[in-house]
């Protein structure tokens, strides 16, 4: 058991047993291979052998050793070439390579490091040197892997808790939105009820006329008929509009649970999202929207609710940035560029300082007050700082990229590039 741990907390390091570790020895010289095997096995490692470059590559691929001890001078494919192959392949690049070399020329050593070798041991072979180098590089590799795993776990944890926060935040936002949604529903409801009132009035006039046994004039009857049919038509159209609004709300509500990728029209999602956001009365009435969508149908392979979430974050940020702006305007445009669709969301707010263009994508970076404190920043805004972080994750998951610009002309611009879906066959 090695007693020297690299940093506490990485349990993987302290439990690393040399017995688990496999070393591939590549040398065309049988005697060298035997010698190295003895040295390494005595130290508790498992040893594999290869006698030329080709065989070495095959063994690495098949057995994934933890380290490769590689002779430079071999017929056909020399050690440099083998090393180059290993370092060029993402599957094998992290395996440390130690050259065994009789060459003492520094130019050769440099060449070795240039092709990506981690270290070298000199020939004739010195037992202690081999043991020390191998041990160091295995430890380094274990440490690197542990850190990588730790980072991945951390990222997972951050992603999970971000999702939680975003869910919570969305629920709070829904509370605010409900007022707006209800207001929007009142429009068609007013028309529907009004249409019914008018219909009822005509009906009661008709009933009245029948009771009085005085026949209404042809002209009067005609007007009642026309008015009644108009009232019915208005009621029907308003009911349809109400139905549509409710449907899009339902979609919004349920789409969160679907995680499959489907072919969807980005332009359509943009228009839906704008419709949804107009439940926010400030967004609807005070901000000018310049919408310029490409005439082609930009079909992408994505989760529509995730795209909608990206849009809602970008538009929400733009709206926030425009607080107190004299003539708040948001431009949204889409344009096909090669095999990608480019979406740009631009606002004429204060923009973003150049040194912050990268930072804003970091989780929890925000210039707004944290919502749970109930406090607000000077502009009365709250945020968790997860909006753009999640946007970037979603866009990356779709094989795209997102980037922020603050053009010298002012305002902020966000550009999202997403690959178009392949034509359906």
């Amino acid at each position: 058991m090695p007693t020297d741990n690299v940093g506490a907390g990485f349990s993987a390091l302290s439990s690393a047993k040399v017995g688990n570790q496999v070393i591939l020895v590549v040398d065309d010289d049988f005697v060298n291979r035997m010698l190295l095997r003895k040295i390494l096995e005595n130290s508790g490692y498992a040893v594999l052998e290869a006698f030329n470059g080709k065989e070495a590559l095959a063994r690495v691929k098949a057995d994934k050793p933890d380290l490769v001890l590689l002779d430079i001078m071999m017929p056909e494919m020399d050690g440099y070439e083998v090393c180059e192959y290993l370092k060029a392949d993402s599957d094998t690049e992290s395996i440390p390579v130690i050259f065994i070399t009789a060459l003492s020329d520094s130019a050769d050593l440099v060449k070795g490091f240039n092709v990506g070798a981690e270290d070298y041991v000199s020939k004739p072979i010195n037992v202690e040197e081999v043991r020390a180098r191998v041990k160091t590089h295995l430890k380094l590799k274990t440490a690197t892997e542990a850190i990588k795993r730790y980072n991945e776990e951390l990222e997972q944890v951050v992603a999970e808790s971000s999702k939680e926060l975003i869910r919570a935040e969305r629920q709070a936002a829904v509370g605010q939105l409900i007022q707006g949604i209800v207001h929007n529903l009142k429009g068609p409801l007013t028309t529907m009820k009004g249409g019914l009132d008018i219909g009822r009035k005509i009906l009661s006039a008709l009933t009245h006329a029948a009771e009085e046994e005085t026949a209404p004039s042809q002209g009067q009857l005609g007007k009642w008929g026309r008015d009644a049919s108009k009232a019915l038509e208005l009621t029907a159209t308003a009911a349809e509009r109400l139905q549509e609004m409710i449907n899009s709300l339902m979609e919004k509500g349920t789409a969160d649970h679907i995680h499959t990728l489907v072919r969807c029209d980005l332009n359509e999602i943009i228009l839906n999202e704008l419709e949804f956001l107009s439940a926010d009365l400030y967004f609807k009435h005070n901000i000018k929207k310049d919408v310029d969508l490409c005439p082609e149908k930009p079909v992408i392979l994505a989760n529509p609710s995730e795209i909608a979430q990206v849009l809602s974050n970008l538009l929400g940020n733009a709206k926030d940035a425009l607080t107190g702006s004299p003539s708040p305007t948001i431009s949204i445009n889409t344009r096909i560029s090669g095999s990608d669709i480019l979406l740009r969301v631009t606002d004429n707010g204060p923009g973003i300082a150049p040194q912050n263009l990268e930072k804003i994508f970091e989780p929890f970076y925000t210039t707004k007050a944290r919502p749970e404190k109930g406090a607000k920043n000077s502009a009365g805004l709250t945020g968790t700082g997860l909006g753009l972080y999640m946007c970037q994750r979603s866009v990356k998951a779709m094989g795209g990229e997102i980037r922020a610009e603050s053009p010298p002309t002012g305002g902020a611009a966000f550009q999202v590039r997403i690959p178009l879906a392949k034509q359906e066959t």
Binding site: H183, G187, L189, T190, T191, G194, I198, A231, L234, T237
Partner: protein, 142 residues
Amino acid sequence: MSNEYKILLVDDDQQILSMLELAFSGSPYEIRSITDPVKAYKLIEDEHFDIVITDIQMPQMDGLSLLKKIKSFNGMIQVIVMTGHITINNTLDAFRYGAVDIFFKPFDNVQELVTATDAIAARLDRVNIILNSLVGKEGHNA
């Protein structure tokens, strides 16, 4: 009612305007309707209107600002406000700024709005009669 009053309906929802026009279709008024409050105000400056019925939440200018502008342009113009967003503040402000009545959307019965308008028209009749006798001139009938 001797006067054929001119009424302007203002709401950003075109369907509601159509419904209101229909509700007023049996009344003796000359009805105009418009979805844009800014244009509505221009129209009021250019043409004479006796009664304005306006929504409160609209783009560009909200109905309460429109109300204030109308009342300071011509205090004689009678303004009825409609709102889907019922708050005490909205209601008090509307009356404070000189609205004659307020209706909440959706209406209990749209006929109530017509009846209220008729009552306002009747009052305008009386006001006009009194004004005319004071000025000592015959007419000003539209």
